[in-house]
């Protein structure tokens, strides 16, 4: 009885303004009000300044004709397209270089990170030198290096280096034959799809069998056969329903074919090698974080080195690796904006560069650009968090 009385008495005796809960609410409300006021001030001030300076504002400019050209585009775009379309072209260019960059940087980073822990002295040292050199040079410098290193040694279009398969290499990039698909290609596509599905089905069947009987099945080899062998067979049976439009030299440059531009290459190489150095260190730290006892336990079970790494060490290391890996992915995406220095038409170059300048709508353009990068970052981070939860150790 006595204890209850004291608690009751304590709660009722404190004045409301001394109640930590109510106080907390008041402070929060105050903060929200201050932030709201600052936002309102900033927006109305900007609007007033723009009006006073006779600068047009609003987002109507997105529907106006752009009038400039962009050389690398994934969607239809011409000088008669709108500024909004130019925005999409830039956005897609950013996304593709970021997506391919993330994929390649992850592969390269894991290889180097593991090489860094290799017992082979030469491999180990080479990985060490790579990480230390690449990590400590500014990315912009590296991009300029790659751009000029990729570009200057290559010959002019008329003296292109001819690679097997109708591929040409010159200082305008690589021109590859464009595949032209015939209708029978649909069958091949269906076979590819079926192969992939079958491979996944086989894998889960093999897993279940292994759990039940302990037997191991050659999952990798069978999957390879299903995914590559089967479509190849289909190609032969349908009589190769695919032809190639081979590029040919016409006038200044090659006509026909699919070009890959040196700006894209340089940006991709720069971003991949730079980010891979950071990923390598993250992977190394992650692997070192896994207790050596785990490796020994694996060895005691009779696993070979590769299997220990793949089945025991890396899954545990992933817990440590994923959060900093996420931030490297975000860095890579954001760093792709340095493309502006080497003429790759990414979002910043096309939209925050040319469009901003031609329209003069600095506030709107910068707001949209910031919004885009924020969205990309949040989506990447949400995906990685989801993945992190999925691979997290489940304690039973």
């Amino acid at each position: 009885m006595a204890t209850i009385d004291i608690e009751h008495g304590a709660a009722s005796r404190v004045a409301w303004y001394n109640d930590p809960r109510i106080r907390g609410l008041i402070y929060q409300a105050l903060l929200v009000a201050v932030v709201a006021f600052l936002l309102y001030e900033a927006i109305s001030n900007a609007a007033e300044n723009l009006r006073r300076a006779n600068i047009a504002s609003g987002f109507g400019f997105l529907n106006a004709t752009a009038g400039f050209s962009i050389n690398q585009k994934l969607i239809e775009y011409s000088e008669t397209s709108t500024y909004g379309r130019a925005f999409l072209v830039g956005l897609l260019n950013t996304l593709i270089v970021a997506a391919i960059g993330i994929l390649l940087a992850t592969i390269l980073g894991f290889i180097i990170g593991i090489a860094r822990l290799s017992r082979n002295f030469i491999i180990n040292r080479m990985a060490y030198v790579y990480v230390e050199v690449v990590r400590n040079l500014p990315l912009l410098l590296q991009l300029l290096f790659w751009y000029n290193a990729v570009l200057t040694p290559l010959p002019a279009p008329r003296n292109s280096i001819e690679l097997p398969g109708g591929i040409f290499l010159n200082n305008r990039g690589i021109v590859m034959p464009t595949p032209v698909l015939e209708s029978a290609m649909a069958i091949v596509a269906a076979v590819i799809l079926a192969g992939v599905v079958a491979a996944f089905a086989y894998r889960s069947w093999a897993r279940r069998r292994q759990l039940e009987t302990g037997m191991q099945y050659p999952v990798f080899r069978v999957a390879l056969l299903l995914v590559i062998g089967l479509p190849a067979l289909a190609l032969v049976l349908t009589g190769f329903p695919i032809s190639f439009e081979v590029p040919e030299l016409r006038g200044f440059n090659f006509a026909g074919g699919t070009p890959i531009y040196p700006e894209f290459f340089a940006l991709l190489i720069g971003l991949v090698t730079y980010t891979a150095a950071f990923i390598a260190e993250i992977v190394r730290a992650g692997i070192l974080a896994v207790s050596h006892g785990q490796t020994e336990a694996g060895a005691a079970l009779g696993f070979r080195q590769g299997k220990i790494l793949r089945l025991i060490v890396i899954p545990q290391a992933m817990r440590v690796i994923i959060p900093p890996l996420t931030s490297q992915y975000l860095n890579l995406t954001k760093n792709s904006s340095l493309a502006v220095a080497i003429g790759y038409p990414d979002l910043v170059q096309v939209f925050a560069g040319t469009v901003l300048n031609q329209t003069g709508q600095a506030v709107e353009v910068i707001l949209i650009t910031m919004g885009v990068y924020l969205t990309i970052s949040l989506v990447t981070s949400a995906f990685m968090n989801w993945y992190n939860r999925r691979v997290a150790l489940t304690e039973r």
């Binding site: 300076a53 570009l151 925050a352 003069g360 353009v365």
Partner: protein
């Protein structure tokens, strides 16, 4: 990174600037004691720092003339090098008082961008440069070519118009700065390099082998280049406009840096009004009546700055052409001072 950040920062500056930037630029310039002039990052003959770090060029001289008119001292200018892409935002946000940076006067810039063009100090037109060994003699033969261009310029738009109008294909490679553009052209990334004809002559000096390149004869656009101010400050607009006009009038009247002192005794009423012996023209734009005398004494007349920076005797070797006085077959024509 600087290029990426600049517009963002300036955008924020536009959003938060107290709003005083638009009015009374002259008072502000007087109270801080110097003029801030938006300049090129480096274009020979127009605006560039020489090996001692002194800014030189025909655009730079106009900035110095404005400073001379206000302070009687052509050195009271701070030059802010701006890329084509950053220049308007810098002017709009008040980072510079005036922009004299081979900027083309167009309708959209004059209206929707909140800017005012205060005259034309160089009549230019866009041209193309190619390697001689390409065997091209006309811009009409450039179908299928790749062209290096600096982004955020009228050049980029004219290029698109020209190729579209002539039904020709091309590939554009755009760079943020003129240095990167020229370097890419020099390394063979593009078949052609395009910018204003004056710029072609200036940039050619930077190439590895200038003699291996030719400028094609076609001029595909009108590029009236001139000084720019913000809208909403009429006094400042008039001042910049009349500094420029005074330099043209001085050339027409034969007033030079060398003879300006004795010209003060001239009996020609036009010269008397120009040099502030008669009338109150200086005070009308917020200056002293010897404003034009100071300009000519320190900087010279329009013809002198032309000859000194880009004329036939300089490395650029550009003939007066359209930029000759109207009395000599050119387009330079200033309203009278009266």
């Amino acid at each position: 990174m600087r290029n990426t950040l600049m517009p963002a920062l300036l955008g924020v500056a536009v959003a938060f600037a107290a709003g005083t930037a638009a009015a009374a630029t002259l008072d502000e310039v007087k109270s801080k004691g110097f003029l801030t002039c938006g300049s090129n990052t480096g274009l020979a003959g127009f605006g560039y720092p020489d090996d001692q770090g002194n800014w030189k060029g025909i655009d730079v001289d106009l900035c110095r003339a404005i400073a001379a008119a206000i302070f009687n001292d052509p050195e009271k200018v701070k030059f802010v090098p701006l890329s084509a892409k950053d220049r308007f935002t810098a002017l709009q946000s008040g980072e510079v008082d005036v922009l004299v940076r081979n900027t083309t006067w167009t309708m959209s810039r004059d209206t929707a961008l909140g800017l005012n063009f205060a005259g034309v100090n160089y009549y230019d037109g866009q041209g193309f440069m190619v390697r001689k060994d390409l065997g091209v003699t006309s811009a009409k033969e450039l179908s299928g070519a790749s062209v290096c261009v600096q982004q955020g310029t009228t050049t980029e738009l004219n290029l698109a118009d020209f190729f579209r109008a002539n039904g020709m294909d091309y590939e554009v490679v755009a760079f943020a700065s003129s240095d990167e553009t020229v370097k890419a052209y020099d390394s063979g990334r593009c078949d052609a390099f395009t910018t204003d004809a004056s710029g072609l002559y200036a940039e050619r000096l930077k190439l590895t082998n200038p003699d291996e390149h030719i400028v094609l004869p076609e001029i595909i656009s009108k590029e009236p280049l001139g000084p720019v101010v913000r809208q909403g400050d009429d006094q400042w607009f008039s001042l910049v406009k009349w500094v420029h006009n005074a330099m043209i009038n001085a050339e027409e009247l034969g007033v030079t840096q060398a003879n300006v002192d004795e010209m003060r005794n001239s009996s020609n009423p036009e010269i008397k009004r120009l040099l502030g012996i008669e009338g109150e023209f200086g005070t009308a734009i917020g200056l002293t009546n010897d404003w034009a005398y100071n300009i000519i004494k320190h900087v010279g007349n329009y013809g002198e700055t032309f000859d000194r920076n880009v004329g036939p005797d300089t490395e650029l070797g550009i003939a007066r052409g359209l930029n000759a006085l109207w009395t000599k077959g050119g387009l330079m024509y200033a309203p009278p001072i009266r």
